[in-house]
Every structure is written in C-alpha cells, then in structure tokens.
C-alpha cells in the first residue's frame, strides 16, 4: 500500500523510464522496503538516516536539521514530492552504514564518500559534492609603508646579520689570541687587539685584503687559510639567506596554489588526510592536534599555509569569523560525496534525476556558498 503511494508520487514527477524500473522492482524483486513493511514496521514516509557532520549536517537544539547535505535532500524530496523523516545516527558511522546496508533506512545522506568498500555493501547515487583538501592562507595585507618595512626586516634577516657579526667577533678574538704576542699588526691590549682582529676578519672574509693587518705566527696563518676558504661558503650562504628573506618578506601572499607549498611552512592536523598528503609530497609540515590551533598558527604567521578539509576550512572562515584567512580555489585529493541507498533501491533512478536537477540549478551554488563561503570551484563533481 505504502510503496504504491510513494511510487505514484515518484512517477508523477520523474522520467517515464523510472516508472518501469519501479514497477519491475515492486512486482519482481522483493525490495528492502517491502521486506521491512512485511515485518510489521509500516513506513508512512521515506526514512533518511543521517548523522551530525558540520557543515554537511547540523541540527539545532529544537531538532531543526540544516547543513549542505540536508538542504540538498530537502530539495530532492521537494522535487519528488515524497514525505520523509530523518533518523539520527550521531557519531555512529558504522551503525548508519549498517542501517543502509540492511535496508533499515531508505537512504543515507551525511558526508559519505564514494568508495569501493561502500559500493560493495550498498548503492550510491550520483555524486553531489567534490570534497577534498583545501589550502588556507592569510589574506592580502594592507600595503602600508610600515608594513613593507617590517616585512623586509624578517626574523630570518635579523638572525643572519647577527650570526655574521658573531662569527666576525669569534674569528677576531681567535686571531688576536694567536697574534697578540707579535705586537706588530695586532695590538696587545684586549680592546684594541680584538678590534684589530675583527677588522682583519672582515677584510679577509669579503676578500678585500687591504694587507694592513697580517698574521705572522703559524697558528695565525693556519687560521687565516681556514677563514679564507670558509669565507667563500659563508658569504654565499649569507647572501642566499638575505636574498630569500627579502623574497619571502615581499611575497608573503605569494602562495597561489599547491606548487607554492614547497617554499613555505605548512600546517596540518595530526592524523588527517591533509597530513598524509603533505607527507607523501615530502613537504615541510608542522602538525597541530586540532584544526583551530592550526588556524591560529596561520593567523599568527607561524605557518604560511594550512592543508585541511576544504569544506570545513570554508565553513570555519565563514561561520566562525576567521576574517584574515581565505581558502585557495583548489581541491586536492578529491573525494566525492553521494547519497547511499540500499542495494536495488526502487527510488534510485528518481533520486538521481532529482539530484542532478538540483545541483545543476542556480540555487545550489547559493546553498554551497551559504555554508562554505567564497571558496570557489565548489561546483558539483562534474
């Protein structure tokens, strides 16, 4: 009785072919729906299993369901004019998947990726959302003069300069210790002598070689040779560090895609696909236990990028007011979300038709944007 009621509504709004399919299933194959009805549990409505997964499935305290997946289902049900009720499986993914496999629910919509294991146990509709990893970065800074100046004097720059001076002082002291007894080029008084030493170290390092101070002892000359050759490397290293610190300072917002991740410090959340992906790419990763801590590190500037579930990044930035951050329009390691149905579900064809109609409609983009913000490239999985 019930099945026929639903079928009538389905056929009223869907393709004529689906009618054949449904009639076939109704009369020839014992459907899970019927099996359950036969067991005495009469269903007045389609039962949709779901579980809380922000931002795909949300539920307020008065029991109102919302979220990207829920809104999609409501539109599909509206399209098909079928009555339905949600059944909650919060934090019980195994139970939810078990329910759809055994036909205890007629459909499952949450954030279920299409996988081989899933396909072996139950059926999937067409995908409606391309989920995956996104890259969050800090937004464009204001182009003020002070900002540019502080950008120039990065921490890296200060350390490089300090290290250089430290090294000059160290070599200067060494050469003075070795040469102080000669009293010829290096003054025997500590303050003057060390100054002479630092001067000599700088003149030698830059291969200026005035020759006004010359080591005379064996020890002094050995040190001089070591310092001369070491200087070649050190000067190269110093120039490179300085140059890169200027470049990074100026191109702070220069992360425009996954290729730029290699030259910056990237954050990930431990035990997530984001971390696995970064490790597989051999990228310099810093892990945090929770995504909010990674977001804070990104905002502070401890890291320059964060790789995490794109939908959650978009939702957090939009819903929790992370104004300084934005998500790049790339999706990495794509997983496609679909509605799960029991095997041989009689409603699969009509749900597919309605689903495609909804996600290709103009309203769907607005719905996606309402939950995920301006993260771009969030079209359906086509």
């Amino acid at each position: 009785m019930l099945m026929r009621g639903i079928i009538k509504r389905l056929t009223a709004s869907s393709h004529p072919l689906s009618l054949c399919a449904i009639l076939f299933w109704t009369f020839v194959v014992p459907s899970p729906l019927q099996a359950d009805a036969g067991a005495g549990q009469l269903r007045a409505k389609i039962v949709v299993g779901t579980m809380r997964v922000p931002p795909f499935v949300l539920r307020s305290d008065d029991g109102q369901w919302s979220g990207l997946s829920i809104d999609l289902w409501k539109r599909i049900a509206e399209e098909l004019k079928i009555p339905f009720e949600f059944r909650e499986f919060d934090y019980d993914l195994a139970g939810l998947l078990d329910a759809v496999e055994r036909g205890r629910v007629d459909a499952v919509i949450a954030a279920i990726p299409i996988t081989q294991e899933g396909e072996a146990r139950f059926d999937f509709t067409h995908p409606y959302f391309a989920a995956g990893l996104g890259i969050a970065v800090r937004g464009e800074p204001q182009g003020s003069l002070a900002g540019t100046m502080t950008g120039l004097f990065t921490y890296q720059f200060v350390v490089a300069v300090a290290a250089l001076f430290g090294l000059l002082l160290f070599v200067g002291i060494l050469i003075w210790l070795l040469e102080r007894r000669q009293k010829s080029h290096f003054d025997s008084r500590p303050s003057h002598g060390i100054a002479d030493g630092v001067w000599w170290a700088a003149v030698t390092m830059t291969s200026t070689g005035y020759g006004d101070k010359v080591p005379a002892t064996l020890g002094g000359r050995v040190l001089a040779i070591v310092w001369m050759f070491a200087s070649i490397f050190l000067v190269a290293l110093f120039s490179a560090t300085l140059a890169s610190s200027f470049v990074v300072g100026r191109l702070k917002t220069g992360i425009s895609g996954p290729d730029d991740l290699a030259r910056v410090r990237v954050a990930a959340v431990s035990g997530t696909t984001g971390e696995q992906w970064l490790n597989a790419q051999g990228l310099n990763t810093r892990t945090y236990p929770f995504v909010i801590q990674a977001m804070k590190a990104l905002q502070r500037g401890d890291v320059q990028a964060l790789v995490y579930e794109k939908a959650i990044l978009g939702y957090m930035i939009k819903e929790y007011g992370w104004n300084g951050l934005r998500v790049l329009p790339y999706t990495l390691a794509v997983r496609e979300y679909a509605i799960a149905l029991p095997n041989d579900s009689p409603i699969k064809k009509s749900i597919n038709l309605a689903l495609l109609k909804v996600i290709h409609g103009s309203e769907w983009k607005d719905i996606v944007q309402r939950y995920l913000g301006e993260t771009g490239h969030f079209a359906s999985a086509d």
């Binding site: 307020s60 919060d90 921490y155 200060v158 001076f165 100054a195 909010i292 905002q299 929790y320």
Partner: protein
C-alpha cells in the same frame, strides 16, 4: 691629573662599547626573540572561540566582555547554534569551548575517546522551571503528566484535579527562550500547546497574569520569583504519581531530585590552551557567577556551599 684619568676612563669605556657592538647586536636580537616567544606563552593573548547553547550565549557573552576588559589582549568570541552543534564543533576541533545545557551523550564521549582524547565538563550554573498558580488556588502538587495535559488542552478545569470548579487559564513563555525550551523538553515532549494557551514573552508578564487570574497557571524561570513575594504560589512537582512531590529549592535542584532542571556547562577537550582555561576559571569566579545569578540561574558556587 684627575681630569686626565677621568677622560681616559671614559675613552676606554667608549672604545669597549664600540668594539663590542657586534656582541651587543647579538644580545639584542636574542632578547627580542626570547621576549617575543615569552610574550606568546605567558600573556592571555589567544583567540578563544566559544560555540553552543543558545540559552547560555547571552550570559557567557557578558562574561566574555568582562574578561576581555580585564585582559585586553584576549579575544573571545561567543556564538550560539545549540548545544549539539557546539559539541560537534568541539569534537571536530573547530572551536575551543562548547557551551551545553545538556549532558554529553555516551556516543559523543566514545567519539572523543576513540581519538585518544578526553572531554572535561565544567558545570557553571543550574536552571530550573517552576510552575506557579494563583494564591487563591488550593492545589499544592501536580505531576509532570498532569501539567502536560493542562498545557496540551486535555485538562481544562481545576475540578478535574480535585480543585475548585474553575476554568484553567494556562500561560506559557514564547518559544525561543531557554525556559520555554526546558519546559518543552521536560514536560510537553511530543505534545503541542493547546490553542487556549497564551504565550507571553517575559517571566514577569507570566507572574503578573497568574497573580491577576484565579484559574491561571504558568511557568517561569526560577530566578524570576525573587522579590515576587506572595503574588503567586509555586507548586511542588512529582515526576510521576509514585515519586515524592518536590519543591524547586536550591537543594532539590542541585541534587537533581527536582524534575524540571538542567545544568549549564562548558566543555573542553584534553588540555585547553592558557587563555581558554583562564576563561573557564573566570566563569567560575565571583564575577562570572554573579552574571549567571543576575540572569536568574543558580550559581554552582552557591550550590557547592
């Protein structure tokens, strides 16, 4: 002689300073770096995100304002959305603190322990709904089911409850308040309000109406009965016909024997960051608890005493 030696001492000092400029620079750089790291660690400059129960949001928001006045570097944002979504956001690591007006479910706990973490729940205040009737009404006890039948329109006259031959005039709080939610959840459950029920937007309005009409019954937050005196009468409530009637006293609410109460708590995972922890502690301090009291809740501090 005197001036010359003074002069040379000065000159030596100046030279020493000049020659040691590099050392000085290194020291300054090191100091700046350590200073920055230290500042990050010690000052309460963190951003803290609090999400959850709509009924807790105004009070926690006020406490956050107070906290930020005392710690100008801290940035605490408080958002609603409901206890369930708040806990979900916390479990997914999207916020620092969840506000909840219900207990954490075993499934939520299991989800967290599967990840090798633990939840820590800090009760801040208690909320209770009291049923009030007119002073002239002789009824003293009602059970939850009878109250439900009154508001669902199944019981329409006090005589059905062995009272006077008077028509019952029920008053309810407009939907959206924590009081209305608690009543809906604990009393009404699946039933819906009868058409005869008038919905008022404040506890004070309910007290005024019930005080004015002999057949009236209404519910308010317990805090609203302070200073009302003898204008209305609070009745005792039984969970069912067998259980003992209970008045809404601080003791009965704290012990949980009063059926229409709930606990307002903050939840964090594992070890919260310094600022988040300081904020939770501040909610338990005299100033935080004072704001809960002003909002009509029972502070846990007084409950502990």
């Amino acid at each position: 002689m005197q001036t010359a030696s003074k002069f040379s001492v000065l000159r030596v000092c100046a030279r020493l300073a000049l020659y040691n400029l590099p050392t000085l620079l290194i020291c300054v750089a090191l100091f700046l770096y350590i200073g920055r790291a230290e500042e990050m660690r010690t000052s309460l400059s963190e951003l803290v995100q609090v999400v959850g129960s709509e009924s807790m949001r105004p009070t926690i928001g006020a406490i956050a304002e107070d906290f930020m006045t005392r710690n100008p570097l801290a940035d605490i944002t408080v958002r609603g959305g409901g206890s369930g979504d708040g806990i979900a956001a916390l479990l997914h690591g999207m916020v620092d603190i969840a506000m909840t007006s219900r207990d954490v479910t075993p499934r939520e706990r299991a989800y967290v322990s599967d990840k090798g973490l633990e939840l820590s729940m800090v009760p801040l205040a208690l909320d209770a709904v009291v049923i009030v009737i007119n002073q002239a009404n002789p009824i003293t006890v009602l059970d939850v089911e009878q109250i439900r039948d009154i508001f669902a329109g199944k019981i329409r006259n006090w005589s059905e409850l062995h009272g006077a031959e008077t028509e019952i005039v029920p008053f309810a709080r407009a939907a959206g308040s924590g009081t209305a939610y608690l009543f809906g959840e604990h009393v009404l459950s699946a039933d819906s309000f009868a058409a005869s029920v008038s919905h008022l937007s404040t506890n004070e309005a309910i007290v005024a109406e019930v005080a004015a009409r002999p057949g009236a019954i209404g519910y308010t937050g317990r805090g609203a009965l302070r200073g009302v005196g003898n204008r209305v009468r609070m009745i005792a409530i039984r969970s069912n016909q067998q259980s003992p009637p209970t008045m809404a006293t601080t003791e009965s609410i704290v012990s949980g024997s009063y059926p229409l109460s709930r606990k307002l708590s903050l939840v964090t995972t594992g070890h919260p960051l310094a600022t988040a922890k300081a904020f939770v502690d501040f909610c338990l301090s005299a100033s935080g608890q004072g704001l809960f009291q002003r909002a009509g809740y029972i502070e846990v501090q007084s409950a502990a005493r």
